[in-house]
């Protein structure tokens, strides 16, 4: 791997009151130049926390261990000045809700150019010219007029394009897109992601794409990391994941997608509700919902290991593979959990 980004054994605990509660356990993955890794999982699985940890945006009283290497240098040991440089030029983050993330009191144009003008000392007019050009590229019509407006005058889809443009303007090597389309209408979601991916590809930027939508992840990424309760439980290519899921949780996720073409009486579900890292049971975090659970699963957290070129964190993967043809999550053959 030509590691642009290497995350190694990242663990994070955040403070609530006097207690520390875990949010990430042993998160490791790598990303080459121009590659896309998708982090997929339900809310509370730790996807966003991973992105924040990479950007150094965790609350200051959190406890972090492990390494986050960017171009071989550990991001976590950077000084404040180096960290600013890293955020300003190397890595950019696209937030989930542009309506909240973009300051409502400044004009859209000021938001786009503020980093160029204030951190790089670029001339305001030059910065504005660049911003307008890029705004056009991300699909904002009449950018000259739009850039003079305030955020509340733009639709959610337009605002997310502004957000994307603001990150692209800095020309970082790495994009972190934290559910960039979740707050948008269904119809604009695909369009916005497509624009994001096109522009990223043209500029050779790598991306960590965070989503809870497995389909979306499969369409735009080179590899998918499935997260559950603060752990990465499986890393695979989209094709492999679809054909040959290795972790029971992934299998469940795949099975629980409603099909548009087929009419089913009931969409198969993973029994129980998702667990956050703080609520996970001892042992394998999925053991209380897993149809393959056996006493060994409750003893200790399984190591993540290589299976058929993919990575999975399950001690029963081999048996699962043998069983693959028969979906354990279909409503007819659902095994009892307890």
């Amino acid at each position: 791997m030509t590691g642009l980004l290497e995350v190694e054994n990242l663990a994070v605990e955040l403070r609530t009151g006097k207690r520390y509660r875990p949010v990430l356990h042993d998160v490791s993955f790598g990303l080459g130049r121009g590659e896309v890794v998708a982090l997929v999982g339900e809310s509370g699985s730790g996807k966003s926390m991973t992105a924040r940890a990479i950007m150094g945006l965790l609350p200051p009283d959190g406890r972090v261990s492990g390494a986050i290497r960017f171009n071989g240098e550990d991001v976590r040991t950077k000084t404040k000045g180096e960290m600013r440089e890293f955020r300003a030029r190397r890595a950019g983050m696209i937030f989930q809700d542009p309506r909240a993330a973009i300051n409502p009191v400044h004009r859209v144009g000021d938001f786009l150019t503020e980093a160029l003008v204030r951190e790089r000392g670029m001339d305001q007019r030059e910065a504005m010219k660049r911003a307008e050009a890029l705004a056009e590229e991300v699909g904002i019509d009449d950018p000259r007029r739009r850039l003079r407006q305030y955020p509340h005058q733009l639709s959610g889809g337009m605002l997310q394009r502004v957000m994307i443009a603001s990150v692209l303007l800095a020309e970082p090597e790495l994009l972190l897109a934290d559910e960039p389309t979740t707050a948008l209408d269904m119809t604009t979601q695909a369009e916005v992601v497509a624009i994001l991916d096109d522009l990223r590809r043209a500029r050779g930027m790598a991306m960590v794409f965070i989503t809870h939508d497995l389909e979306l992840a499969a369409a735009f990424s080179d590899r998918i990391a499935v997260m559950y309760a603060g752990y990465i439980v499986e890393i695979s290519t989209p094709a492999q994941l679809r054909e040959q899921p290795l972790h029971p949780y992934t299998t469940g996720l795949l099975a629980s997608r409603p099909e548009l073409r087929e009419r089913t009486r009931r969409v198969p579900q993973i029994p129980g509700r998702p667990r956050s890292a703080a609520e996970a049971p001892p042992g394998c975090p999925f053991n209380d919902r897993c149809p393959y659970v056996q006493p060994g699963c409750q003893q200790e957290v399984p190591e993540i290991r290589v299976i058929d070129g993919s990575l999975a964190r399950c001690i029963r993967t081999d048996e699962l593979r043998a069983d693959r043809d028969r979906s354990v999550f279909s409503p007819d053959v659902r095994p009892s959990v307890d």
Partner: protein, 315 residues
């Protein structure tokens, strides 16, 4: 934009008319005839009585009387003080300077110290924050007149740094003489504004736009100025304006405590001497100042927040 200002102006006029109506009409709510109220306990010759009747148009219908009173008030003519046989406007202009100086002085103190202490409290070291919070906790419970008395006792009687009485003359004389009164007037509002500022800045510190700005690698100074302070300014400006408007009534207390000859003192002595024409005039001026300040605050607030600024609807 013009439409918005027009509406603001219209509602300002309506409020002014209504309150002047109430102030004038109160004359007729009092026990006894308007004559009795206007003359109070002063014995007057029939000639004076006739003059007052003519001035107040007491023989005409109420609305006509109000109209005469209000239009001459607009021209700066508030009639004649029965008790002093001088023009009310003259008495007002003789003392208004002190009150205006006092209010402006206190406003400057409030704005400067309130916002400064609030920002320091929110962004500065924890220890400083703690002591500022204790001070403002006490400060918001101290009534203006108690603050006045304490300031007089400590700085005028004991330490003799400031004069006990008098408004001084010339700019620096006034500045010196009015420092204690202005401080007393500003104290409560400074404490209150400090708390509001602290909370607003703290809230913005953890806001999403600040996270975005940090993620873009902006210098903390830029983040604080453009994304914390700028956004916190919206509630801060509103509260500052309301506090300043509130000072207008507070001057009555401070002028009494420090024996200053200002509008508030004039109002009080006129109440005591049953000089109702002066009471009406001063009340009208103070209430109008209050209403105008409040309207200005409204406009300023709207200017600061583009989301409610007129002419910026979603396009």
């Amino acid at each position: 934009m013009a439409g918005y200002l027009g509406r603001q102006f219209l509602s300002l006029v309506v409020l002014l008319v209504l309150s002047s109506f109430l102030i004038y009409g109160s004359l007729f709510l009092a026990p006894g005839s308007p004559d009795a109220v206007l003359f109070g306990n002063h014995t007057v010759s029939p000639a004076v009585r006739a003059a007052v009747d003519a001035q107040y148009h007491l023989n005409e219908p109420f609305l006509v009387q109000y109209w005469h009173w209000a239009t001459s008030a607009l021209q700066g003519n508030f009639g004649t003080s029965i008790a002093f046989r001088t023009s009310v406007a003259g008495r007002i202009s003789a003392v208004a300077g002190t009150t205006i100086f006092l209010v402006v002085y206190a406003s400057v103190l409030i704005t400067f110290f309130g916002i400064l202490l609030g920002v320091i409290s929110a962004l500065g070291p924890r220890k400083l924050d703690g002591s500022i919070m204790v001070a403002t906790n006490v400060g918001t419970a101290v009534p203006t007149f108690v603050a006045s008395v304490i300031l007089i006792e400590v700085f005028a009687v004991k330490l003799r740094w400031f004069p006990v009485i008098g408004a001084g003359s010339g700019f620096f004389g006034r500045l010196y003489h009015l420092t204690l009164p202005a401080t007393a007037l500003a104290l409560w509002a400074v404490a209150y504004l400090t708390r509001v500022t602290r909370v607003s800045v703290r809230d913005e510190l953890h806001s999403d736009p600040v996270m975005t700005a940090t993620a873009r690698g902006l210098h903390p100074k830029v983040v604080i100025a453009r994304h914390v302070i700028r956004n916190a300014l919206i509630p801060i400006v509103t509260v500052t304006g309301l506090q300043i408007a509130g000072l207008i009534a507070g001057t009555v207390i401070v002028e009494q405590a420090f024996g200053l000859n200002g509008l508030g003192q004039l109002l009080l002595t006129s109440v005591e001497q049953k000089d109702f024409a002066t009471v009406q005039a001063v009340s009208l001026i103070l209430v109008s100042a209050f209403i105008v300040t409040n309207t200005l605050v409204d406009i300023l607030y709207t200017m600061l927040d583009p989301r409610i600024r007129p002419g910026s609807r979603q396009a």
